[in-house]
């Protein structure tokens, strides 16, 4: 009874404070003639978004969507690269090789202990000095054209849905090949050599599907000072990506190292006893088990990367936060805009948590 009284009291206080604050906001908004609704979403934005088709005459709503896409571009690419790099460095941290071990250690100890924001600013500065001005562009044929404004690479052209079809087809092909090879290996005892089979077949399927669905391709081409065609990774995108990947990979490396160490020693010894190669030992025995231990902390790093992508706003990469700031600077009211921003990030975080938890549950079921 006392417990309930206490709970009700706490909740009442919370509700009262919220009510008080919202009341203040209403009062302030009325006194300062601030817009409180979300009608601004359907107004013209008044600013263009660089390296996109978004024009200043389009709606704020569409600007935010463009920013959302840019956040996704940054976060998804960053998560993929940081996972690969972080895993490699985490393994290197445990290498028997003195030089490799210490190079990896130096990388981790340095990058982990400096502010991400400083890394973002530094990588922008590095990209601005390392890449050549447009008149000295690095022109590597149809594959990539690169200068200080950005790096353009060969890319698909046309309907996104068609591209998705191609990706899914390739994925299904690779998965099918992997399954088949495993079955063969189980039946005959021959090595599976999955990668050797899956990669060429996957590539072939990709090309065939590309042609079948009628997806186009666009190659970058240097035209005076301009680059046409291809897809352009702008300087600010590359800078943000570089910093996010460097920072997150140093954290993932530590998690990978810890979870490899947490795999019972007997597992590695058993792999040695089976005369597995170093790669097989790591890929088939150690990593799958350490994945189970490291998955949740690595999932948290993915969340952090997503949230940290908001720092790209500091170097004006037009991701969600930056677009919101621009919208607020132009005409959108601050409170509804920032609340919307928070809710979008919250939703994205929840989706990532959900995926990580699902994968985690699946791994656990396999374990038992």
């Amino acid at each position: 009874m006392l417990a309930w009284a206490f709970q009700v009291a706490v909740v009442t206080v919370v509700v009262a404070v919220v009510w008080y604050l919202v009341g203040n906001y209403q009062e302030n908004a009325a006194a300062k003639n601030l817009t409180t609704g979300f009608g601004f979403l359907d107004q013209p934005s008044g600013f263009p978004i660089p390296d996109s088709t978004f024009r200043q005459t389009q709606r704020v709503r569409d600007a935010l969507f463009e920013g959302f896409l840019n956040t996704l571009r940054l976060a998804v690419t960053g998560i993929l690269l940081a996972t690969v790099l972080g895993t490699l460095i985490g393994i290197a941290r445990l290498s028997t090789n003195f030089v490799l071990r210490n190079v990896a250690r130096a990388y981790v100890e340095i990058v982990r202990n400096v502010p991400l924001l400083a890394l973002v600013l530094l990588s922008l500065s590095i990209i601005q000095t390392v890449f050549p001005p447009p008149q000295d562009t690095w022109d590597l044929g149809p594959l990539t054209v690169s200068n200080v404004r950005g790096t353009s690479i060969f890319w698909y052209e046309g309907d996104n849905g068609k591209f998705l079809v191609v990706v899914v087809a390739a994925f299904i092909a690779i998965a099918a090949v992997a399954r088949w090879r495993r079955a063969v290996a189980d039946r005959t005892g021959h090595p599976a050599r999955t990668a050797l089979w899956a990669l060429p077949i996957g590539a072939a399927v990709t090309v065939v599907a590309w042609i079948v669905v009628g997806l186009g391709a666009t190659a970058p081409e240097l035209d005076g000072r301009r680059v046409t065609g291809g897809i352009t990774l702008t300087a600010s995108y590359l800078a943000a990506l570089l910093a996010l990947v460097a920072y997150t990979s140093s954290h993932i490396a530590e998690i990978v190292r810890g979870s490899i160490q947490a795999v019972p020693k007997g597992q590695g010894e058993a792999a040695d006893a089976l005369a597995l190669s170093g790669f097989q030992r790591m890929w088939n025995v150690i990593l799958p088990q350490s994945m189970r231990i490291g998955l949740l902390p690595i999932g948290n790093q993915y969340l952090n990367l997503l949230k940290n992508s908001s720092l790209a706003a500091v170097i004006t990469f037009p991701e969600l936060t930056q677009v919101t700031k621009l919208a607020v600077a132009t005409r959108a009211p601050a409170v509804p805009s920032f609340v919307l921003l928070l809710l979008i990030y919250l939703a994205m975080s929840l989706v990532i948590s959900l995926i990580v938890n699902l994968v985690n549950r699946r791994l656990r079921i396999v374990e038992r």
Partner: protein, 391 residues
């Protein structure tokens, strides 16, 4: 309807709630070190505050009617109580507002902050300069981070309406132009099809460039950067073909460009109207008109021919118009108090401490190469600067 929307903002409110809940704790733990500082001038105001809050609380049973939200005191009272004007400025534009080697804010905008302080408080030095970047200025104005925004800000309808800003009298009529490197091989904007044009983020210039290029049937990629040094770095490294901003800004940037002014060319085309105007928060008429009339005073002083040096003498001189304007008694021993909430001698303080409009213009903008008053000449000289009569 609006209330429902507001009440549905619960998540944010939860955050704000914890913020408010904790701010008390912070006061204990850090012994009010952070909070105490800002409210040093509060003792006077605090009693007034509690009265005002009480009144609001009593009336808040009907929070939808428009009158009682005005019960909060005017910023004018707060400024007088704190004895300082907090002025939102920029810190990166020579001629308008920049920090000099001695750590002082100098420039045209900085001087108008001093004009306001001289007019309201009688002392041009009682300004607290609050540097603010372009894309933060309106939210910061709404949040009350400063009392007045003097940050060569363009007056537009959306800002007036949506951003809670109340624009006063334009201190500078400007227009947007385009600057390119002299060796870039461009002779006019028409040569710049597909160019990268760099601007400062969160300004009207982003949209203007896109609109202008579209009107000429050209494509353009508008890159934005947080401040002028960042644009300059990008420009130097070759990220931009063109640099666009208000003409006066471009003149200023060109005058201090490290490689020398001749490395840059400004095209003569002016493709937008940019009335650069001080702004205050909407809904505070007393404060708005006080600030507005301090600005008018600089123009009136120039119309009347009162200068910084002559102001004190003129205030007791024999020209009745000047004497009246400077707060002196007329022939019948009566001084004019127009009821603006300003001291009767506010114009005298402004002109004698800072100068008239022309003097402020020449002191700050002539050195950076804005030779011609142009639209900013007095109306009597064919310009647009015109002050309503002081009487």
């Amino acid at each position: 309807m609006r209330r429902t929307i507001i009440r549905s903002l619960a998540p944010l409110a939860v955050i704000a709630l914890v913020a408010a809940g904790c701010s008390d704790d912070d006061d204990d733990a850090t012994s009010g070190s952070a909070a105490g500082g800002d409210t040093t001038a509060a003792p006077d105001a605090s009693t007034a505050d509690s009265v005002a809050t009480g009144a609001t609380a009593a009336e808040s049973s009907t929070p939808d009617s428009a009158e009682e939200v005005q019960t909060g005191e005017s910023i004018l009272d707060t400024v007088i109580a704190n004895d300082v004007v907090r002025c939102g400025v920029r810190d990166d534009l020579t001629g308008f507002s920049v920090v000099d080697d001695a750590g002082e804010y100098v420039g045209f905008d900085a001087d108008f902050c001093r004009v306001i302080a001289a007019g309201v408080l009688g002392d041009a030095t009682k300004v607290e300069f609050v540097p603010v970047v372009a894309d933060a200025r309106f939210p910061a104005l709404q949040a009350g981070e400063f009392d007045v925004l003097v940050r060569n800000t363009t007056w537009t309808a959306s800002r007036d309406g949506g951003d809670g800003a109340d624009f006063l009298h334009p201190t500078f009529y400007d227009g947007q132009q385009m600057m390119v490197a002299a060796d870039a091989g461009y002779d006019s904007i028409d040569d710049m099809d597909g160019a990268n044009v760099c601007v400062v983020a969160g300004t009207t210039t982003e949209g203007n460039v896109a609109t202008e290029f579209a009107a000429r049937g050209l494509t353009v990629n508008v890159l934005s950067f947080p401040d002028i040094p960042a644009v300059q770095t990008a420009f130097d490294e070759g990220q931009c073909d063109g640099w666009s901003s208000d003409g006066s800004q471009l003149v200023s940037i060109r005058s201090t460009y490290p490689a020398g002014p001749d490395a840059l060319v400004i095209f003569p085309d002016v493709f937008s109207k940019e009335p650069l105007t001080p702004a205050v928060i909407d809904g505070d008429t007393a404060w708005a008109q006080a600030v507005e009339w301090t600005i008018f005073a600089t123009i009136t002083a120039e119309e009347l021919g009162i200068t910084k040096d002559s102001a004190t003498a003129d205030s007791t001189g024999d020209d009745p118009a000047k004497v009246l304007f400077l707060g002196g008694a007329n022939a019948d021993g009566v001084t004019l108090d127009p009821g603006l909430g300003l001291p009767p001698d506010f114009a005298l303080q402004i002109v004698s401490q800072v100068g008239n409009y022309g003097e402020i213009f020449e002191a700050n903008l002539t050195p950076i190469g804005v030779e011609d008053r142009g639209l900013n000449a007095l109306w009597s000289d064919g310009g647009l600067q015109y002050a309503p009569p002081y009487r």
